[in-house]
């Protein structure tokens, strides 16, 4: 049954005259790439299709001819033309539905309906959100993925692969400095590829698994609608929930996902917040381990980072011109996810992401190699030392900040070693954890920021982030000392 949709009289008249007009202009550049019927083209013109109209506007004469037809039709109609077209289509769809669909009256609300209410009712929905984030992100991605899996894979890599690579490189390449590019502590294979395989891959795999599960169950739109109000205060909308939660897995991936946000303003705010105040799983995993014995210190760290996230978001939203994009989202029914689909999806995403990120880590190795070879790193560390002293840290921690830039959790792991030697007090640990969390995004994220937001915006963000991180550290240290608190 293929019945053509019949529109109201004035619209049909306009379509007819536009069809003739289009047939006369078929040879022009305007319609060359469009292969579908004149009627469809006429309808697109009437609905002010943006791409067709931008092409049309190149010729004023043509543009005026179409506009006349549109105005004539509009004057005879009660509603705007595109609305009238949509209404007719809607009615047609309803008519079709009523013919083919037979609805039996349900006596009681179905299980999915009850579940839906449970997820969106503020009284039950917010606790559920916390539970899902706790088990899905914290337990599964953080503790299992970034903790357990990373330890095992990295242990295997360092124990089995690195020694062989080091040995072979030492035999083939006679120059120590060139050996360091491939192997040893910071080589492309021993560090760059190891990071991508042993750190990023497990985090991303567990994350995508959890994410696909939430996606296929239909929970994500519900999460967005629950958090829209909170995100609005930071100039973002409910849509930004997805990149922000992704950031708790891997900030580089999250920065890439900010593409999906509607306005440029939202994309800038989201990128900025991700690089400043959203620690990735690898990073917060180590920081939690570092502060685990001191619940008060952990509270100070968590509370302060959350407060900075909200406050900086709020201020940025106030300062950046423009308004937050409107939030509208279809809420699909809740469904039981199919395991096969989830696994396939996770696998495809992992593959795609791995190839996207691998070059970034190889570059990181090359940068470290150049930095060490030329003595540039030594200089930067000397430069950081007074800053480190100003926030009350021993000079041994200076390299931690530089290397933290090449891998977010490396900085925290370096701190872990220093703590093991008993060199740090509770206060110093908190200050260091805060500065490291706020400090520069890792080098892969920085490259992604440049790619997505452009060099100028990225430089502006970095110029804010670095002083802000140290200043916050300075203030926290000062505050704790003045209050006489020993964490």
């Amino acid at each position: 049954m293929t019945s053509q949709v019949l529109y109201q009289e004035p619209i049909e008249e306009a379509i007819a005259s536009l069809e003739t007009w289009i047939d006369n202009h078929r040879q022009s550049n305007l319609f060359r790439e469009y292969t579908f019927s004149s009627r469809s083209l006429a309808l697109l013109l009437l609905q002010k299709d943006p791409s067709l109209w931008s092409a049309l506007k190149q010729d004023e004469e043509q543009c005026r001819e179409v506009e006349i037809v549109l105005t004539v039709a509009q004057n005879k109609l009660e509603y705007p033309v595109n609305l009238a077209i949509a209404q007719t289509r809607q009615q047609q769809a309803r008519r079709l539905e009523s013919i083919v669909l037979q609805e039996t009256k349900r006596t009681q609300t179905s299980l999915t309906e009850t579940l839906h209410r449970f997820t969106v009712n503020p009284l039950t929905g917010f606790p559920l959100l916390v539970v899902i984030l706790y088990f899905g992100v914290y337990k599964f991605v953080g503790e299992f993925g970034a903790g357990e899996l990373v330890d095992r894979i990295e242990g295997f890599y360092e124990g089995q692969i690195n020694p062989i690579v080091n040995q072979i490189t030492a035999q083939i390449i006679p120059w120590q400095s060139l050996q360091d590019l491939i192997a040893n502590d910071y080589g492309i294979i021993t560090l760059g590829i190891r990071y991508a395989v042993a750190i990023v891959l497990p985090v991303v795999a567990t994350y995508f698994l959890m994410f696909s599960l939430l996606e296929d169950s239909g929970y994500l739109p519900r999460m967005s609608l629950m958090l829209d109000r909170l995100f609005k205060s930071m100039g973002l909308s409910g849509r930004a929930v997805i990149p922000m939660v992704l950031g708790l897995g891997c900030d580089t991936m999250a920065t890439m996902v900010t593409r999906t946000l509607e306005t440029k303003r939202e994309r800038v705010i989201a990128t900025f917040l991700l690089s400043l105040a959203v620690p990735c799983a690898a990073q917060w995993g180590v920081i939690l381990g570092l502060l685990a014995q001191k619940p008060a210190a952990l509270m100070v760290w968590g509370g302060l980072i959350t407060a900075i996230f909200l406050a900086v978001g709020y201020i940025t939203a106030k300062l950046l011109p423009g308004s937050s994009g409107g939030f509208y989202m279809e809420v699909p029914p809740l469904r039981l996810p199919k395991l096969r689909n989830i696994l396939t999806k996770t696998w495809i995403r992992m593959k795609w992401y791995f190839w996207e990120i691998l070059p970034l880590f190889i570059w990181a190795s090359v940068f470290i190699w150049i930095g060490r070879l030329t003595g540039l790193f030594e200089m930067i560390i000397r430069g950081i030392e007074p800053l480190v002293a100003a926030i009350g840290m021993p000079p041994e921690t200076a390299p931690v900040f530089l290397y933290g830039f090449f891998r977010r959790d490396y900085g925290a792991a370096g701190l872990f070693d220093i703590q093991q030697q008993g060199l740090l007090t509770g206060n110093q640990l908190v200050v260091a954890a805060i500065v490291l969390t706020l400090f520069l995004p890792c080098i892969a994220q920085l490259q992604m920021m440049i790619k997505e937001r452009g060099l100028k915006t990225t430089i502006a963000m970095v110029l804010f982030i670095v002083p802000f991180a140290f200043l916050t550290g300075y203030c926290v240290n000062l505050g704790l000392t003045l209050l006489g608190v020993n964490l």
Binding site: A86, Q87, L225, M226, D228, G238, G326, F327, E330, P333
Partner: protein
Amino acid sequence: MNALSTVTIGQSQTVVHLATDQQNVMRKLMALGIMPGSSLVLEQRFPSYIIKVGHTRTALDGETAASIFVE
């Protein structure tokens, strides 16, 4: 003509007017089946508006919902 912020939750309403000058919002609402003549049921207002049109459920923020007027 009533704003969505004043109508009773759970009752069927007929849309009479969309008051927005943003083309993209208008287009999106129409794509979701929200346009003059269609009937909708408001399900909740907090933390976001949830409305049902036919078998489609949609979440809207207060600002977008404020552009929908019903009989």
